[in-house]
Structures are given as C-alpha cells and as structure tokens.
C-alpha cells in the first residue's frame, strides 16, 4: 500500500547528517522593500507578506525606508537587553542541567523579536506572550530575581508554585500569564483589543505564537475575530523553522509564508527578518501605529531560527543537523546588532565583552538572591496549604475540607 501512496509528506531540507540547506527561504535584500504609510490599503501591500523586510544588510549597515533611525544610545540599550536575555537563558539552562530547576526553555536566536517589539510598544499596551518571550518580560520590567523565583517555585514565586518554570506573568507590566496550552492566548489578545476599542481607549495588544502553533484552532479564531471587528492587535508568528521535531512545513509553511495567513481575511501581513532588531522594531511600530489609528490588526511573521533545543526535555540532534543554526542565513540577532553598532562607531568588542560580563554578573547576582527565597532542596518553602487558594475568589467549603485533610496528613 505504502508504495502506491500519493499523499504529500512535507520534507525538511535537511536531517541529521545532511548539510544544512536554507535555500527554501525567500530573502529580500536589505532595504529593498518600501515602507508604506501605516494606513495603506491592505490589498496594496500584500507583497509585504512574501518579501522580507530587512534593515541591516550583510555589511551590518541600516538600509532603506524601514530603517527606524533609532538613536545609537537606544540601540546600545537594545543590545544590552539582548545580551541580558541571552545571559539569562544560558544561566537558566545550566541551572536546569544541574538539576536545580525542573525545566527550562530558551529563546536563543530569537531574542530580537521580544526586545525589538517591546521597544516599539507602549507600557499601556498589553502583551500575550508565548513561552519564548522572556525578553519581553525583562524589557517591560520583570525582575530577574522574580523570574528565577518563578522557575524555582520558591517563596518568591509569583505563581506560588502552581506553574511549571517559565510560565511567568506580570500584571504591573501588562504581560499576561503563559499557558502550557499552545496558542490559547492568541484570541485572548484579540478580545482584550476589542475591549480596548469598546472602551474607546487607544491601547493595543500583541500576541505571539510559534510557526507550529498556527495550526491550532485558536489561531483561526484570533484572526477571524480580529478581522471582523478590526481589533487593534498585533498578531505575531515567530517562525523559528521548527516546532519540536517537525519543521515549519508541517504547519503549512511550505507553499506560502505565514505572514500571508491573514490576507484572505483582509489582515495585512508583514514578513520580517526576525534576527534584525531594527526591522522588527520598524515593523512593529508600523503595525502599532496602524492599529492605534483604527486600521485594525496586522500579522507579523518573524523569520528566525530556534538556536537551542526545544526545551530541556528535547534533543534536537535527533531530528535536524547539529550545526543548522550556524548556516542560518539571517545569522544571530546579537551579533548583527553588535556589528551594526561597531560599524557605526558606537560600540566595540571591548564594550561588548564588558557588557556581556556585566549581564552575566547581573544574572549571577540575581540567582544568588533568588536562591535565598528557597531552592528545590532547601527552604524556605512555599506553604502547600496555599494550593487551595484562588481556585475561586472565596475558597468554597469542599476545598477548605480538602485543605484540612491535606494538613492533617502532612502533620
């Protein structure tokens, strides 16, 4: 039967042992795509979903009309955030490997998405992140210590031990809670934006999903509702080429870019070099302006690469070439911004190393601090009795009884 099969099975360009091959990626030269007005008619900018908006060229120079012309100081700050994000990821990965937290997920290689977008949004805008947006939390003001405490489920954990590591939230910073269920937050962002419009406020919302998650129903619901009510929302697809073991073709990326997914509903799509912080920032600014002016939703596809394993439970050498990332034509977002700044004379290798060291220190200091609030093996520990709180506003009788039973047993 197998031999006769006519079913199309998507194939990644390379598997372990093969040479990495990114020839499938459609790359536009930096600066080649024109930036339309933020209120351009969707039909006139459909090409933005196929071409690739890039600002930084191969010589790390900013090119073209999408160049946001950010001040060097702002870019230095951006680079610091990128470095902090990477330092955080690296340390937490190690810490998990040492068995000191139970699980971790890195954003390595994708840091420019979170930082570039965070820079382009306003504090009153609401973010509905996925689990690879740690940069967003950091930029918007989550403290390293608080995030580490969450990963430790210790007494400083904002989730009081109820969520796995990395499932942060930050109400003060207008960042939503991360769910283990993929894509569920995407339509929440749309509902939030609808409410903002209903209230006549000009806050917008933004949400993020991976390429693989676009197959989920919630992706469709989000796009449909956003289009119908013209919700002021930025819907991001972070196309890092891989879900877990399946490449982006298994989410339907073989024939058309993810940025094109909303065109059939009249949602403009922008395909952007996700490893080019300037391009990410510029695209987001454009979409935010459009949304705030009543122009409705924008779908942004960030073309990037998942530099690390899917999570600490994953071994990517089982399903893709070991060194695929090194061959990724859009490179490493940190290197690219660094080289840009150096090229412009606003940065140096020395500064870079010193900031990198500074960030690693920051992380290390925070880790020490976090551990004081408890580790997996040493107290102080959270009180298990709290696990019955917050199921409802007021804890009902049956939960109080269960709490008591639990306490009786533990004692």
């Amino acid at each position: 039967m197998t031999n006769r099969s006519r079913l199309h099975i998507p194939q990644p360009s390379a598997r372990p042992g093969d040479e990495p091959d990114f020839s499938y990626l459609n790359l536009s030269p930096a600066g080649s795509v024109e930036r339309p007005a933020a209120d351009a008619r969707t039909r006139e900018i459909e090409h933005l979903s196929v071409e690739l908006i890039r600002v930084l060229d191969d010589d790390h120079r900013a090119q073209g009309s999408w160049n946001p012309a950010l001040e060097p100081a702002a870019l230095q700050v951006a680079l610091r955030w990128l470095l902090l994000t990477r330092a955080y990821d690296e340390r937490m990965w190690q810490i998990q490997r040492q068995g000191r937290i139970s699980f971790y997920m890195q954003s390595t290689g994708e840091e420019a998405v979170s930082i570039g977008q965070a820079m382009a949004l306003r504090p009153g805008d609401m973010c509905f992140p996925s689990y690879r947006n740690q940069g967003l939390y950091l930029y918007r003001g989550s403290k390293l210590v608080d995030m580490m405490c969450q990963c430790l489920s210790n007494t400083g954990d904002m989730c009081k031990g109820r969520q796995m590591p990395i499932m942060y939230h930050n109400r003060d910073a207008n960042i939503f809670s991360i769910s283990g269920n993929l894509a569920t937050q995407y339509p929440h962002a749309v509902g939030w934006a609808m409410a903002s419009a209903i209230k006549g406020e000009d806050h917008i919302s933004a949400s993020w999903v991976g390429d693989g998650s676009t197959a989920e129903a919630d992706f469709h619901h989000a796009l449909t509702f956003a289009a119908i009510y013209q919700a002021p929302v930025i819907l991001n697809v972070v196309n890092n080429q891989w879900a877990i073991s399946t490449f982006q073709g298994f989410a339907g990326g073989e024939r058309r870019p993810f940025a094109a997914r909303g065109l059939g509903l009249g949602i403009p799509g922008i395909r952007v070099d996700g490893n080019d912080l300037l391009a990410v920032y510029a695209a987001t600014t454009w979409a935010a302006e459009r949304a705030r002016r009543g122009g409705g939703p924008t779908l942004i596809e960030h073309v990037t690469y998942r530099g690390g394993a899917h999570s600490t439970s994953d071994d990517p050498t089982k399903y893709r070439p070991k060194d695929e990332w090194l061959e990724f034509p859009l490179g490493d977002p940190l290197e690219r911004l660094k080289n840009h700044l150096i090229g412009e004379g606003h940065w140096s290798e020395e500064e870079h190393e010193s900031v990198q060291a500074e960030m690693r220190d920051k992380v290390q200091v925070a880790w020490k601090e976090a551990q004081k609030q408890g580790t997996m093996t040493e107290g102080p520990y959270l009180d298990p009795a709290t696990m019955f709180d917050d199921v409802f506003v007021e804890t009902p009788q049956h939960l109080e009884m269960q709490r008591q039973q639990m306490l009786d047993l533990e004692s």
Binding site: M158, K160, H169, P187, A195, I198, P396
Partner: protein, 338 residues
C-alpha cells in the same frame, strides 16, 4: 413584581446589570440585531448599542476566548452559546484557560465571564439540540456551574453569575423557557403565569450562587434534581403519593452539600434525577456525596433516574426523557427497598 417567563427573566437580568455596570457586554451568535434565537437578548442591542451587544461569528471557541480577553481588560462579558450542544468547540478555552486563570496567576489575572447556554431536550431537537453537558463542567475546578428551574431563580442567579468574579457556566433548560413542564408532552402547555416563581421583581435582586433550594419539604424521601426535572419530579411524586422532599440543586458546583445531606439524613431515602445521560453524569457525584454523608441514615440504595446512555434520539424523545413514569417508578423502587 411582574409576570415573566424564563426568557423575560433572563433578558431582564441582562438589562438590570447592563444598566448598572457599563462594563457588562454581551456577545454571541445572533444575539445582537436579532435578539437571540430564543429571544433572550431581544431589545438589548437597541437599548445599549451595537458595541455592548455584539453579534459574533459562528465560532464557539472564539466567542469564549474573546470573552476571556475582554474580561482581562476590565469588561464583564456575558457570552451566549446558542445551544449547549455547541459548547464543546469552546471547551478547551473553558477548562484550560477560563477556569484556571485566577489560580495560575494567584489572582493577578482573572476573567469574570458568564457563559449562558440553553440545554436539555423535550423540544424535538434531536441529538444536537437536546444535550445536557453540565456534568462535564462540574468536573472542571474553578468553574461555577448553574442551572435554574424557574424565572425568579433564572433572573436572580444570572445577576449573581454576571456579577461574580468567578467564571460561571449558566445552563438554561430550554424546555421550560415558556412554562413549567411536568413531563407530560400530551398535556396543553402551561405558562409561567400559573406558577408562583413566574412572579419576578423588575428591578435588581439576586439569588445567591451555591445554595440549593428545598422546593417542597417532605419526610419520606429526598429527590435531588435540577432544571426541567424539578417540575417533573414534583408531578411524579404526586403520582406516587409519597411525601417527598424535593431539592432543586440550582448551583451544581460548588455544591451545597449540607442542604442535600441534611435532607437525606432526615428522610433516609434518596432519588436523584437529571436529563443528562446517566453514566458519569452529575447524578454520580450527587449519589457519591450523599452516600458518603448519609450512609448511616440510608434505608435504601440511592436511585438515579436519568437520560439513557445513548445520544438523544429524535423520534423517541419521550421514551428517552426521564418523565413522570420513570421517576415515579424510581420513587417506588426506593420506597419499597428495605
């Protein structure tokens, strides 16, 4: 006081809270311009505008998800799912998101969504317009599950539900929208004007969540039920002449255990009735709880009368529906046991 059927009462509940709280918004399929296929939101869009009473695309999962997002942004959304049979596409958003948001954020985020949905059979709706999926929701920690059995409670409970900061799934037994139904489809329909609970205050009032109602006191047997069967059970009890205490659960979860337990410990006998399929239906939880709390008082096994464990068959509606005969037979069985 005014005479209201359940539809009027539900509409009035919306009206009262919408007038009181500008953050209350309504969304659902056909709820806006048209006023809902069962008319429960009729007139609200005209009164409160298209931006507070939203027609929605046909996507139950999207409706619930969007409502969650709205709730996070300070609104108080009331979402209608046109038939309870169509709530499943939104089940993930209810169970994985709505129910857990407060918990997983330790109260930093929550979304006070109320989901209203007509349920139950007896209207020739066949297998996809007759289901009673309430039991499934009661298994989801964090969800308040409600089913009123009359206009007064419908209005009072719905206001409580909308005002609650906990998410509520509010089931409306559509068979009794227009009048109490005693289970006999051959008798002429009776309007709510014939029933004391058809008198409903026009203004704001609440019926508290989480409290069962002793509809009729009695000494020989406790019947625990809710929704349409509250009326059927009363008729069935009359048929048998047994002095039954009849309890309308009203809020299924969190459950008012003590009212149920006190009654059964007093009567020593218990029958549980619901329309939903029997196997793993909510009656199972009721029976398990009652036997646990009243074991030493029970004189007979707890009997469950429920929908058969098949889909709701269009043509055999009245053989399927747990009507007077079936409940009466159950009562006799419990009374004869010793």
């Amino acid at each position: 006081m005014a005479q209201m059927n359940m539809i009027d009462a539900i509409r009035s509940a919306h009206d009262v809270v919408m007038a009181k709280d500008p953050n209350v918004v309504v969304l659902g399929e056909d709820v806006g311009y048209f006023g809902g296929v069962f008319r429960c939101t009729d007139g609200l869009q005209r009164k409160y505008g298209e931006h507070r009473v939203l027609d929605a695309p046909i996507a139950e999962g999207g409706i619930i998800a969007a409502a969650i997002g709205m709730g996070v942004n300070g609104l108080r959304p009331v979402a209608e799912i046109q038939f309870a049979d169509y709530i499943y596409p939104g089940f993930d958003q209810v169970a994985s998101e709505l129910a857990r948001l407060r918990y997983r954020t330790c109260g930093d985020y929550f979304s006070p969504v109320t989901i209203r949905t007509p349920c139950g059979g007896g209207i020739r709706g066949g297998q996809t317009h007759s289901q009673s999926p309430e039991g499934i929701f009661t298994h989801v920690s964090g969800i308040t599950t409600v089913m009123p059995s009359n206009p007064y409670d419908a209005k009072g409970l719905l206001i409580s539900a909308i005002e609650s900061d906990d998410p509520v799934v509010f089931f409306e037994p559509k068979r009794i929208y227009n009048g109490p139904f005693d289970g006999d489809p051959n008798k002429p329909a009776v309007p709510w004007t014939t029933h004391p609970k058809g008198e409903v205050p026009e203004d704001y009032f609440t019926v508290p969540l989480g409290i069962a109602d002793i509809v009729k006191p009695g000494s020989e047997l406790t019947i625990i039920t809710y929704g349409t069967l509250v009326h059927v059970a009363q008729a069935a009890a009359r048929l048998t002449g047994v002095d039954a205490e009849i309890i309308d659960v009203r809020t299924l979860a969190p459950l008012d255990v003590s009212t149920l337990a006190d009654s059964v410990c007093k009567t020593g006998r218990c029958l549980i009735a619901h329309e939903a399929t029997r196997f793993s239906g909510f009656g199972a939880e009721l029976a398990a709880t009652v036997q646990e709390n009243c074991f030493y008082s029970l004189e007979a096994p707890i009997e469950r009368v429920a929908g058969w464990d098949t889909p709701y068959p269009h043509a055999f509606e009245w053989q399927y529906f747990p009507g007077q005969k079936r409940i009466a037979a159950g009562i006799r069985k419990v009374m004869e046991a010793q």
